[in-house]
């Protein structure tokens, strides 16, 4: 399992996003949201870098059909 990377999403940014969407943003919640976002964004960055220009969100269906017997 990959260790969690250091947070590079600030609590202030998370709080701003939460408030902009109409949600409460108590400091502890904002810190948790920031840590979550930082972790998943860091965990997927390399895979996103490998995406092709043409890869599309509906690509799963075509790929699954090719793999199905």
């Amino acid at each position: 399992m990959n260790p969690s990377p250091p947070s590079d999403v600030s609590s202030q940014t998370a709080a701003s996003l939460m408030r902009a969407q109409g949600h409460d943003a108590p400091p502890e919640a904002a810190a948790d949201v920031a840590a979550f976002a930082a972790r998943v964004l860091a965990g997927s960055r390399a895979a996103f870098d490998a995406l092709a220009f043409e890869d599309e969100p509906a690509g799963w269906t075509a790929a699954a059909n090719r793999l199905a017997r």
Partner: protein, 471 residues
């Protein structure tokens, strides 16, 4: 037959006994309701038992049968389901405080299809709040407890489904699986459960969590029952545009296919990286059994699964936060603190990352297929890599290691959700503490039949599904 004998029968045997007139549906329903009421204080598996209504339905099924009208392969078989499958006019609590009083405006396609197959519903089952928790904790309804040891978790989110089936309080139950919510309770509770390919089973009328990941499937004591229920609920549905249009195979008929010649993959990485020794030993035993049945076992290398898990987490979080947006704004205090925190996580997922996560799915399944299904028919692994934790270990005060523990619980089930692949969990042994251990079989898209064939052969060879908890 005595009550104890009746509740010990699986759906297949109950349906045959009712059809042949050896027992009435009413008698079976009475026995199951009595069993459910008897185990409820220890397990907290049921949210509601609809005794009068179920007995009326059972008597009607008996009258139909007497008149020569057989509704379907599950004629007169009573069962209970996770409390997130809507039935018109009836509130579905979804494990929450928010929807508990809201009558449903539709009936779930999965329930309609079970009704059409002749099944009856006598109750609804406990679940994690909004299906967003892997252990079976529910701070509103009370935690669900494992039939093998009430101090231990059931797994979630289909917690009541897992433990009620294990306790012989229902012969089968519907569950949902967005990150492992069928397979985890199946594994921890020692029953079978299948997460179908994304798009095989309609989600219409079922509580949404993540549109791109949600699947619906059965939990039952036997793989044969999983095949029977899956056959009943699968297939195209105009009410769910993500549903696949291909014909549904007769999974029950295909159970007889030979295992000899199937190639099973043992992953060299990820699935065993952090596996407890006694889980590992159970997996080696299960592979020996499968070899003895005629299957070939080969090692396979996997792509980087961790990156897919991160992407899958973003999809689930962003979609769940969107679905819950209005309630998160207007009723945040009606969520438990744990679920509120999980739902809020999606509020900071950038749209670009969400879209890239979805773009990654096609590439991921193609890479996984090339690495795995070019060599093997089925990937074998543990369902869960660690021994069953206690409810206390995974509760609010579970200590600093709790988050890591929860991540380990879901670690081996999440890949199949991101990849949209079918995965079956089958009991594969017991720990020294006497708690069940599950093995997971993952297959090609829409190849549930191979998983069920293999799982059923394994069950018949081991008889592990016949062991019952001492309740």
């Amino acid at each position: 037959m005595t009550d104890a004998e009746l509740v010990a029968l699986d759906c297949t045997a109950l349906a045959a006994a009712i059809r042949l007139g050896r027992v009435t549906s009413e008698r079976v329903t009475e026995a199951l309701i009595a069993r459910a009421e008897a185990v409820q204080p220890a397990l907290n598996a049921f949210v509601r038992i609809d005794a009068e209504q179920a007995l009326r339905a059972a008597r009607a099924a008996d009258l139909d049968l007497a008149a020569g009208r057989v509704r379907g392969p599950l004629h007169g078989v009573p069962m209970a389901h996770k409390d997130m499958f809507y039935r018109l006019g009836v509130p579905s609590g979804c494990g929450s405080r928010i929807t508990a009083e809201r009558p449903a405006t539709t009936t779930a396609t999965a329930l309609e299809r079970l009704d059409a197959a002749g099944a009856l519903q006598f109750g609804v089952l406990n679940m994690a709040e909004f299906a967003f928790g892997p252990t079976g904790h529910n701070w509103h309804l009370g935690h669900c407890r494992n039939a093998w040891s009430p101090e231990h978790v059931t797994g979630g989110s289909s917690s009541g489904s897992g433990t009620a089936v294990a306790a012989r309080a229902t012969p089968a139950a519907l569950g949902s699986d967005t990150g492992g919510s069928i397979r985890m309770p199946a594994s921890f509770c020692g029953v079978a459960g299948i997460k179908p390919t994304y798009g095989l089973v309609s989600r219409a009328g079922a509580m949404p969590l993540s549109f791109s990941m949600d699947t619906i499937g059965p939990l039952a004591r036997t793989v044969e029952d999983c095949a029977l229920l899956l056959r009943a609920i699968a297939g195209a549905d105009p009410r769910d545009p993500t549903c696949d249009a291909r014909p549904v195979p007769d999974y029950v008929a295909q159970l007889q296919r030979p295992v000899r010649g199937l190639v099973i993959g043992r992953p060299r990485s990820y699935f065993y990286d952090a596996c407890d020794p006694e889980i590992l030993a159970a997996m080696e035993d299960s592979l020996d059994r499968l070899r003895a049945l005629g299957a070939t076992v080969v090692d396979v290398d996997l792509p980087d699964v961790d990156a897919w898990n991160a992407a899958g987490t973003m999809v689930i979080s962003a979609e769940a936060a969107a679905v819950h947006g209005p309630w998160l704004r207007s009723r945040p205090h009606d969520y438990s603190a744990q679920v509120l925190a999980r739902l809020r996580g999606g509020l900071a997922v950038p749209a670009t990352a969400y879209i890239d996560s979805l773009r990654l799915r096609g590439r991921a399944i193609a890479e996984f297929g090339a690495a795995v299904f070019s060599k093997v028919d089925v990937l074998h692994s543990p369902t869960i890599e660690l021994a069953t934790p206690t409810i206390a270990q995974t509760d609010v005060g579970g200590g600093p290691g709790m988050a890591a523990l929860l991540a380990r619980v879901t670690r081996l089930t999440r890949p199949a959700n991101f990849l949209g692949l079918p995965a079956l969990s089958v009991p594969a042994g017991f720990s020294r503490a006497g708690l069940p251990i599950g093995m997971q079989l993952t297959g090609r898209p829409f190849d549930e039949a191979t998983l069920l064939t293999l799982g059923r052969a394994y069950q018949r060879a081991t008889g592990l599904h016949e062991r019952a908890p001492a309740l």
